[in-house]
Amino acid sequence: MSSSRDNALAKAKPNVTSRGVDRSGFLGGALATIAVLFFLLPLIGLAARAPWDEPGRFFAAPIVEALLLSLGCATAAAFLAALFGLPLAMWLAARDTFSRRLVRVLVTLPLVMPPVVVGVALLAAYGRNGLVGGPAADALGIVLPYSIAGVVIAEAYVAMPFFVLAAEAGLRGFDGRYSDVAATLGASRWWRYRSVVLPMLLPTFAAALVVAWARALGEFGATVTFAGNLAGSTRTMPLAIFVALESDLPAAVALSLVLVGVSATILFCLRDRWLPRGRSR
């Protein structure tokens, strides 16, 4: 509950219009154009170098195999990140204490760690001779490295911070008064959560999920270190591209183009439903 004065302040907050920022002038316009070209040219380069005369190469069995593996693992990693990341984000957003701040730093760490280091660290913990991995393999026969599960674990490790931070920001921005109103209307804690908080935050969580998914899809370093590069079982698209680069450049370009095309299509399809669309909304 905020006092009436807080509300008045909130009401008085000026509406930021796009005109406010669009005063870049000539120099700004030129720099922005360079930025667009900077992003666009590599994509044009890919398209220019692609083996268009051999369309079969885009649908070669190894490509399809790696693509399906990539999509499957990234999706699994994103949902894994959401499953454990959402409760964590809720805990982080609930209060600001020293322990929570500490945990937040921990969660943020994978963002600044080189992915190879993540892979080495994962091996040290969950590897065949790792801290947890050793006993787990001996007692339960669970071996993560060099398996599909290992790919998912490596991708989830690097993708989870993206989900947690985005979800926490959304939770923090949630206006608790909606939950209060629901309570006065007779809604139990669970009902308030189920029919007010979650649905109102769904777009935020979905956007967080997509960002985590995109990060997992492009994951290379941690995956190759922890899960290896076994064709047919752990060779995801980025790994396949790297391998192809050494022997068959047109194949690498074809793989890259397929990966860009598929992820761009998926992002575009989700855009209307889930992703923030700037100020027009």
Binding site: M1, V181, T184, W191, V196
Partner: protein
Amino acid sequence: MTLDLQFRLERGALELAVDLAIASGETLAVVGPNGAGKSTLLTAVAGLLRIGEGRIEHAGRLLDGGPGAGFVPPEERAVGCVFQDALLFPHLTVLENVAFGLRARGVERPAARQRAAERLERVGLAEQAGWRPAELSGGQAQRVALARALATDPAMLLLDEPLANVDATARLELRRELQSHLTEFSGVRIVVAHDAIDALALADRVAVLEGGKITQVATVAEICSQPRSRYVADLIGVNLLRGRMAGDRLVLPGGESLVVGAGYSGEVLATVHPRAIALYQQRPEGSPRNVWRATIGSLESAGDRVRVQLAGQVPLVAEVTPAAVADLELGVGGEIWLALKATEITIYPD
């Protein structure tokens, strides 16, 4: 059935102390300056905030007995709340918003929608049932919020500045509508109001809350005729003086005195209507017993009148016509004679 409030609570810099009883079928307006604790009071009654000590009881049922004692959470209190921002759930349609409380209480969807549709009809928004809250005007949103609050047939209706964010034209009509909904509702009604007209139009009784304390609880008529604080006096637009009777004179704390007539004694309050104060360029000769010279502090237009702030012996506000301002050549800083008949001063015990 009454709502008994007798509690204290601290929240930030605010120390709220309340001792009030509100009967079913009665509308109590809570007025007071910003930050006086009006909204906090409602929040405590709704159960969204726990009290520090004391008790909140409705119809003999203890809702909050302070720390360690019983506490009924908001969802079990049978309250209906309307806040100044309507706070309609943006992801639900208007109809689903109104049906929300019924659904939360376990009413099946078809029945809840049926009853919600009836409620919407009563606030005149049946056609907007399928709309999203973002498509409604401010006044419409508050009507939906009211329908949503009433849909669960609560025992208490709590309105927190329901007209604050409604534009002036819609306000008049919404106030009238609110009035009829309030009279139809048989439970306890509390309306927090910032605007004097809202409070006086909607309420049976008025509680004045200043700095976390209740400074006056009285009927609307009494509040208007015998205000007890500067805040209320300003709200209803009269001058308020506090002093001590000596014979037929009222002696103010500064030592100045006014002739007010015999028949009173001790500590008293006096009100003077701004229109009862007459202004002259020359010292007036005649019946008024109180005549003195004052400096004009400020002039401000108030509708078809001009309010003249008078500094000097006794600080007062006079109301004159714009024509008089011109005739008397009134200007800020200028000197003027003023006259006040003893019979225009209303005296009542402090």
